[in-house]
């Protein structure tokens, strides 16, 4: 029982990332009818927003401190970040410490810009082209974005630690009346899960309760009719692309402390997120979210030692196996609507 509970918790952080990426993919697919292979790159760019902010905040002045010497007896160079000079050591230090959450603030405009630029500059011209062309051009874009990041940040992962206060684990089991030291869970993963839930609720609320969201939902159901009503659906769809980019980007920012950002993380997550979208049902937002969490949790179960002893290596392939089974038994996915992508 405890073990099961622990595995569910363990699956939540990955599941959250899958769900957030899949949500954006589905939004873009449902509204624009475009299969975006560059969506993983948005996740990766988000993560590198955190890296960039961390680098900016730790920009330092070098002062030679005559009072201290290194082991060779030379005067020691002391680096002092500008933020510490400006705000005092304590405030400055905590600003640097909180750079990942702070990066959320800069990530919003950056991702909005990237998303809108992507849509207006490239994807827009591919609405009427076949899906194969859309896949190909966004695939090319994904390579380009990934290589640009690699050029500026190098091929190695870059650590982006969580704030001091949120590092470490806490005993989740005790909260629920279990024995201590049974269900230990890293704090940041819980933060990530709550963050994902907030974002998902925000997106759903936005689509459900605003006029804008209503038009977009109507457009997802029947684009032509909405167009006939004289509503400029294109502008709203551009905005949707921006929102999807923000969702993917924020998911990336917050994932930094769990997985040190590297240039190919986008593609790694994209492949899995596609599987998630297909399992959930192409064009179904609740399906994307549900399948994201479901697959994350199943993956975590499959990596349990007891199961691995029984079926070795199952954790590596379980997601694909499930996708194949789902597609063959329920071709539309778990919550897919009829008529989406069916010729």
């Amino acid at each position: 029982m405890d073990a099961i509970f622990l595995q569910i918790l363990n699956g939540l952080d990955k599941g959250s990332a899958y769900a957030l990426i899949a949500l954006g993919l589905t939004l873009i697919f449902g509204t624009l009818g475009v299969v975006n292979f560059a969506h993983g790159a948005l996740f990766m760019i988000g993560a590198f927003c955190a890296v960039t902010l961390q680098r900016i905040l730790t920009l330092s002045t070098e002062i030679i401190d005559e009072t201290k010497t290194d082991f060779l007896g030379n005067p020691l160079k002391v680096k002092t970040p500008y933020v510490e000079t400006w705000f005092g050591p304590e405030v400055g230090q905590s600003i640097i410490d909180w750079s990942v959450p702070l990066a959320l603030i800069i990530a919003v405009p950056v991702m909005l810009f990237v998303g809108v630029a992507m849509e207006r500059g490239l994807v827009k011209h591919f609405y009427k082209r076949p899906h194969a062309d859309q896949i190909l051009v966004t695939f090319g874009l994904a390579i380009v974005l990934q290589e640009i990041i690699k050029y500026y940040f190098g091929a190695n992962p870059i650590q982006t630690p969580a704030p001091e206060a949120l590092v470490g684990s806490f005993d989740f089991g005790v909260l629920l009346g279990m024995d201590p030291n049974v269900v230990i869970y890293p704090i940041w993963r819980l933060v990530y899960f709550i963050f994902a839930i907030v974002i998902i609720c925000a997106v759903f609320g936005f689509l459900q309760f605003t006029t804008f969201g209503m038009v977009v939902r109507a457009g997802m159901a029947d684009r032509e009719t909405v167009g006939l009503l004289g509503i400029d659906i294109d502008k709203r769809f551009t905005a949707m692309f921006g929102i999807a980019a923000i969702v993917a980007g924020l998911a990336g920012v917050m994932y930094g402390p769990i997985l040190a950002p590297n240039y190919h993380m986008g593609m790694d997550f994209l492949v899995l997120s596609f599987v998630v979208v297909v399992v959930g049902g192409m064009g179904s937002l609740p399906g994307a979210v549900a399948a994201g969490f479901l697959l994350g949790i199943l993956q975590s179960f499959a990596s349990m030692n007891q199961i691995k002893a029984f079926v070795p290596g199952i954790d590596q392939i379980i997601i694909y196996l499930i996708a194949i089974v789902v597609l063959l038994t329920r071709p539309r996915g778990l919550l897919g609507r009829k008529g989406v992508m069916e010729e």
Partner: protein, 402 residues
């Protein structure tokens, strides 16, 4: 000639000539000249030209003709390599059994994956093939199959290779310890020195080249056959196809299996040149690479995939060798400031940045030249020649998608 039309026959002979004379054609610069770095006439690269040419040709039979975009063809490449290395381990270093097995195993594997994936079309098909290939990659990399059977099958991250305690029952006492074809070693080369030029004739290359030409011939036959026509109509209008009394499923499945066998053969040849097989050959980047080659050259055309494969393999090699020193020497004639400026601009695109160039190039092709290099060539040809062909589109030529 050989059952080909005059036009196809000419094309075939041209490709044969280019392939046979490749050691000359690819080495246009004298050995010690500054331009020698652009020579591509060394065995390793030439082998890869023809091997990836076969890979792309096969992929084109599926994607170019039927329009089904597979994102998992690397799986068959990898399976082919593994099958071939296993034959080395069990029999001997003669490549023939390995290549035969590579074709058979990849064909069966393609039959399985194709049978399942082809139940869906469009984007679902692409994702299903991607999922299968990723799964194969994971299985190969963690030697999952081996753990079930109790002996190694793919040898995990190390990759499959021949060890001295392998059975090799046909090797005999003084058997050849390198890959060979009935005694002719793949690594054997003759070097011809001619007034500063140096040309290398490598048996491995010519072995691959012969297979490559045979496969090219077969591709032409498939393209011009009723079967090929049926595949093109699957791409054009599947609904009409079904209401015309044709069952499109077995046609697409056959195309999938054939292209999987081409890929398996290519994988086998990779292992014939270098007796190793690793899981990374199944990674999605390899699947992506063959898509790039085919699109870049021109999907649905006979020559396109070969051009694309050659183009990508050539620039991969050459671009990745260009470093800052080389750039500085190129722009040395400019004033210092300009020189540094040019070097800074070009730097991200060369050396390790080759993939960036490739990505940009690929996007440009998809956006502006959906027919690839072949269409580009035709457009240029049209500029200089007959204006009339513009008004009268050639039947059967692949049109930019609507």
């Amino acid at each position: 000639m050989l059952g080909l039309t005059k036009k196809d026959g000419t094309l075939f002979i041209a490709v044969v000539l280019l392939t046979v004379l490749a050691p000359f054609i690819l080495n246009p610069f004298p050995e010690n000249s500054a331009m020698a770095q652009f020579n591509a006439g060394y065995p390793d690269l030439m082998q890869r030209f023809v091997i990836f040419g076969i890979f792309a040709m096969g992929f084109n039979i599926l994607f170019g003709l039927t329009g089904y975009l597979s994102f998992g063809h690397a799986a068959f490449l990898g399976v082919g390599s593994y099958a071939t290395v296993w034959m080395y381990k069990l029999l001997s270093y003669n490549v023939l059994p390995g290549l035969v097995l590579a074709i058979i195993v990849s064909g069966l594997f393609a039959l399985l994956i194709g049978y399942i994936s082809l139940r869906r079309s469009g984007i679902y098909f692409s994702i299903l093939t991607l999922a299968f290939a990723e799964m194969s990659y994971r299985i190969a990399f963690s030697d999952l199959l081996g753990r079930f059977v109790g002996t190694t099958i793919t040898n995990g991250e190390t990759g499959l290779q021949v060890y001295s305690n392998d059975p090799q029952i046909l090797l005999g006492q003084n058997g050849i310890e390198a890959t060979h074809f009935f005694g002719f070693e793949m690594g054997a080369s003759r070097i011809l020195e001619m007034a500063g030029w140096s040309f290398t004739f490598n048996f491995g290359f010519y072995f691959c080249a012969v297979i490559f030409m045979a496969m090219f011939y077969m591709t032409i036959r498939i393209f011009r056959s009723p079967f090929g026509l049926m595949l093109r109509s699957v791409k054009s209008n599947q609904q009409r196809m079904n209401y015309t009394g044709v069952n499109s499923k077995p046609y697409t499945l056959a195309a999938f299996v054939i292209s999987g066998m081409y890929a398996g053969l290519a994988g086998g040849l990779l292992a014939a040149m270098d007796p190793l097989a690793g899981g990374e050959r199944m990674f999605w980047t390899e699947s992506g690479a063959v898509v790039l080659m085919t699109i870049l050259g021109g999907a649905g055309t006979l020559l396109g995939p070969i051009l694309g494969a050659g183009f990508i393999k050539y620039f991969e090699n050459i671009f990745s060798k260009i470093n800052d020193n080389v750039l500085h020497s190129w722009f040395a004639f400019l004033p210092d400031g300009m020189e540094n400026f040019m070097v800074t601009i070009i730097h991200p695109f060369v050396g390790k940045g080759w993939h960036l160039t490739l990505g940009v190039l690929f996007m440009l092709i998809v956006i502006f030249l959906p027919g690839g290099l072949v269409e580009g060539g035709q457009r240029i040809g049209r500029l200089f020649g007959r204006k009339k062909s513009e008004a009268e589109p050639k039947p059967g030529a692949i049109k930019p998608a609507e």
